[in-house]
Symmetry: D2
Subunit: 424 residues, 4 copies
């Protein structure tokens, strides 16, 4: 939504509406949780759900209220410290790997904190003439909250999935996927423009839009399925160094990795833990919760390769004409709502984040945000890989084809998957 051309009153109303609906979705995502589920942190990368709910609130408090409301007094002095994730310019922060050690503030306290800040935010937006620059910060804050909605789903899945006591997040039953026949979409050599336009909302790391020289390539119009990946496993995936990066092979050996994160072999059958419970793996559904190491090894085994992030963007933005007769994005809401597991391997995007072979770096002439938000993206441009295309946990209004998600090559608790490319 390009709000810049709205009147001042319309802008306020637009942002109040957006703010309330996005904030409401965060708590709605947690409505099925037991209080205990809000608290634990079974690995360092995961945050307790109550921490997400508090941190996104802290973001509005620090970036908007504390800066622009005169004489603002914080809800709780220690929250500034406890719910700062990693912004060094915002002062000390509690250590990320120790978020699960804190029983207090309670979940109730955190909800009280949310309501408090929400009231103040709405009041601020209703009663103040707000600069566009502040609206821009607010817009980042809303996207930030949406990012954490995806993280909430990832973290809830990890919390429930690692517990020997089975539990189900969503009672909706998954439908079986249908068999699809992938074909290769070809793209010709030349200079392509990639990146977000200056005039649209996008994070700093998606800009500036720029030229990139791309060689001719083909991209699969399907993501790799559980069945495809199972064939790789049965051919000795995790037993042969030859397909793996050096660091990847070390990761396999050190962690005795033998299957995707949520797969479990019970009585000689493969099951997969999903937010809809433990199911037999669906052979036609996209494989997901795959590390970069696994994605790269799979591509090597298959005699193909992972695409670059530019190739992915070219592919994603090419859809309008060419995929006319099938929906490009099978988002959960297409099927109703509350589906949090990928089932359509022929979707162009919106099912699983696809690993690119591109390390995460600044685009040519990249300019980070200024102020506190300068730490938002730029400082992580080291030893991570870009993923593209969105997933079932990504809020639809948060998704963009220019979106650059990024993770370390061993991480796999996000809904990551594989789309193959090849040189032509």
């Amino acid at each position: 939504m390009n709000w810049i051309t709205l009147s001042s009153t319309e802008k306020s109303q637009y942002f109040i509406d957006e703010y309330l609906s996005i904030r409401a979705r965060s708590t709605a995502l947690c409505s099925n949780l037991a209080i205990e589920d809000f608290v634990v942190q079974p690995m360092a990368d995961v945050s307790p759900p109550k921490w997400h709910l508090a941190h996104t609130t802290w973001f509005f408090e620090e970036v908007i209220l504390a800066k622009y409301v005169s004489d603002y007094s914080r809800f709780h002095q220690q929250y500034r410290y406890l719910f700062n994730s990693y912004y060094k310019s915002a002062g000390r922060h509690w250590k990320q790997s120790q978020r699960g050690e804190l029983s207090r503030p309670t979940v109730d306290d955190v909800f009280r904190y949310r309501r408090h800040v929400d009231n103040l935010m709405v009041n601020y937006l209703s009663t103040t003439i707000v600069d566009d620059e502040i609206f821009s910060l607010l817009e980042v804050g809303l996207h930030h909250e949406q990012q954490h909605q995806e993280l909430l789903l990832m973290d809830i899945k990890f919390i429930l999935g690692g517990n020997p006591i089975d539990s189900i997040y969503s009672k909706k039953q998954l439908n079986a996927s249908s068999l699809v026949n992938p074909s290769w979409q070809s793209f010709s050599e030349g200079i392509y423009e990639v990146g977000a336009l200056e005039s649209t909302f996008a994070y700093d790391n998606e800009k500036p839009r720029h030229n990139h020289y791309v060689y001719s390539f083909a991209m699969s119009d399907c993501t790799v399925t559980n069945g495809d990946y199972l064939a790789f496993i049965e051919d000795g995936a995790y037993d042969h160094a030859a397909w793996w990066l050096s660091m990847g092979w070390d990761w396999v050996c050190d962690n005795q990795v033998a299957h995707p994160l949520y797969w479990r072999k019970i009585d000689n059958k493969w099951y997969e833990f999903t937010l809809h419970g433990l199911n037999l793996i669906d052979i036609n559904a996209p494989v997901t919760h795959i590390s970069y190491f696994e994605a790269d090894a799979y591509a090597n085994w298959k005699g193909a390769r992972l695409p670059t992030e530019q190739e992915m963007e070219v592919y994603l933005t090419s859809g309008d004409d060419r995929f006319f007769d099938k929906p490009r994005c099978y988002r959960p809401e297409n099927e109703g709502a509350d589906f949090f597991h990928p089932t359509k391997s022929d979707a162009q995007f919106g099912q699983v984040w696809c690993w690119s072979k591109s390390h995460y770096s600044g685009y040519p002439r990249y300019r980070p945000y200024q102020g506190m938000l300068t730490e938002y993206n730029g400082k992580f441009m080291c030893s991570q890989f870009v993923l593209r295309g969105g997933c079932v946990a990504t809020p639809t209004s948060h998704y963009r084809h220019s979106y650059r998600n990024f993770y370390a090559p061993h991480q796999r608790w996000m809904f990551s998957g594989i789309r193959l490319a090849k040189d032509i």
Copy 2:
């Protein structure tokens, strides 16, 4: 209580009463907790309170119900695995350091589990003619539950004490301690009998009662106070290797230890976190939450030494005549109830566990329990030190002069303190 001479009916009634009252105290100790407090595990040694409540229940289920009730069907198959602490003969167990990763079962589930097992236990005791051997297992189970009541208080303290948000477990206000003047109690050389009599209840590790040759020694009739320890700190305690064991000095350096566990320096004043909140340190109260390394270093600095565990037992059992005019044990209940912080350095016992210089080993002719309980004590007889005398968190009916508590030399989240001895 020596129940062995009671009639069969009296025995049943005695154990039903004991069972219900001891079980009730465990839940009562948790009555002030938020649900979130039941879940976290801020260090590997600490267990989430809900784990304690479930594990003590598991103990009765495995040791009594599953063994002696025909066709017994467990409350939940996974609980057998999740709430086994370390009994290898009872099957696999969840890893100790990962107890805090589990949000499920919920606190409600655990309370349901307790009520379920309690009903079955009372039913079993009411309706069955029970062998003395089984009563003996039950008696161990009740003492086991009481041990965990002390652990609950230790763990709750650690959970609340490490959180930057201040909280108070008990609203009772602590009284200031009074100044005491320690004197030395002398004991002459000779053979002493130590250990529990065969005929009384005691753990296997307290038996058999046996002769031990003791050289003449003197024992302080006061434990070391915060004021005493502060003088040590101010004399450079943590800066001089000379007073420390080699492993102790490494521990100081590696962990940058500079004060007892719960002390905090704020605006140049020393405070101490207690279960009654954060207070200025009480100069006359016993120093507590001290590692063996610190206790040993303090004794060296003072030109004294720690007592052996046999000397401690000789001292503790000597009290009847000589401390006639003052209570030997200032237990919390002496002051009413619900006091969980040591305040009387002149108490002979019952305030802080005092480190002995004795490693924890089996007594001459020690025979471990048979069956599953063989793992109760004997397998830990390695690289730990014995503490004697009980503390404010020890249930009074659980305490015995022959009691051998034991911890690794670096641990200090228990209510440990220092009583000095010297050669004479």
Copy 3:
């Protein structure tokens, strides 16, 4: 040297000469070492010098002799295992971090191994009609040996430099550097060709030559000096998170980094350990032994940035015309020989490897070597950064402008330095 057009006899002679002279230089580099210096491994990245001498020999034994000499019998069965670096297809290998645990084979044994293989190699080349394909493998083997000559110098420096007993590798005395005034060299936007031509020798990772879209930029014609870097330190380099990558700041804190690897502060003066002994830092010489984290932080502090590897290659290959009146590469041999420390910050290359901001990835349409050498480069394309330009330890005939050196962002025992770029 393009040997492809030579006659069969000339090829053999050419390679025998190259082989003997390059092999001789490896041992010559070690001629000043004590036997003890050949053995130790003071950090996992460093290899004992005797290991380098044996491993490069193993390379010829495995890649040429064992493959192409009929009935070849290895010098020692265990050497196959001990001196395999990381080639999984060549069987098991001794763990890299434990190379310094092996006293045997002795240095004498290793020299014996070298002479044995050298004799067989020369004999093979003298008496056999060798395919060009095998000559190509041999050519890689010679470049491989030269790579290890640079590693030898790096590792010897680390071995001697971390020892509290001062020692000097080269008795040649370093001359003081002269002050230089950096200026910016500008390059205009457009498509540039980068990478090695198919017809010249280069590693697989430098090919294929390909188009790359480059935005206009300027490159400093001097590398950052010790004086420049000192100003950064004095402005609080290691105390301010704002200039650092997130992983970089963690690295600084975890390792308490406060200066370049070989700098030492003695009596309030900065010294630098060099292969020519411990000297006061030379304010005008290039700063070296700098991690990517430090290089990136310096550039941020300076308001500039690190160049991409393509910008570096454009810059390096631009020299012929534009730097007419000054030597582009002050290689040690320019000054005689045996100078192993950078002194000329105005050299275009050949003094310090300059960090690019490019992660190390395969070029478009990259094809790895086949066979055992497939593991030579490709499997390391993960979480490393490219450095360009060569250093004083690089053999001159080994250097190419297309050369892609790569290291992890925290590593700094190589002769790494900083050349700044900026957008224009």
Copy 4:
């Protein structure tokens, strides 16, 4: 040797002779080593042989020369730092686990250091009237050197034994052991005196001689053999938690321990690496290189127990009458010389150090050495176990029945073994 009654001149001569002969043996033990063998440290507990040779020299330099020779100038300022093992009162010391990172000083340098200090020591003893107190320090220094002679053999064995290239320290061939039939020696209950007499040389930790109450027990007159231990392995030793201490079982699992340290299974046969090369295990020879965990588990499996250190001393000092007709101690020199592997399981002592079940603590009224040597023994009295009886690597004149060797329960690179006891 009680030198105290000698004349001043005799004392000097006695100590010069002792000094020269003991010092000479240290270097003689290293005469078969390659220079490379002097340098490496394949695990933190092991020290490079050159370090031992230098450290024992440092001991005389610091304890005698630097203290008692006026205007003494040290051989090399850095040696004071590099060759201090752990004496905090003697200043900083190089980190133990990093001794193998140092190529300098060279082996030649270290031998020069030894000769330098030896000359000064002999000169000092020849030309000065020396107090008995200093002779006593010297006596400790000589025993210290002998302790390191045993460590040298242990460390050389570990250095050679972990190398995939077979090597042999001693060319002497081991004779096969003969079958022995162990019997139990009984001892009656009562007070026993243990510890060294004040008037004889012994370390501070062996004193004072004191009363200890011992219950009746029996001791095996043979140590456990390889054959005995093999039966334990074949009965599932390393697969059943029930026999193990809790820490022991963790050690087995974490390190995947499956046999004694130097055993290797080749083509389904058990071999043992010895200082005399790799041999098939000798079924009748004492099992050695056994951790406390293994010794304790073996005893549990066998239905016996390990003896206390007091029981061991009672047993060891009981031999004079009862073992009249066979040598009590089959020391290497009994067979000639240069035998460094235990072969006689019926020797009362001198073959393998036998683990006692006693943690290492100070005796009643223990007084540590004063001065720098106060750190010699007392600061290690924590979490270690006492071993008694000496081994084939112990210099004969260094051995005493009151000797208290001590190691952590997981260590096993010393010549440790098992002698069983039982209650009677």
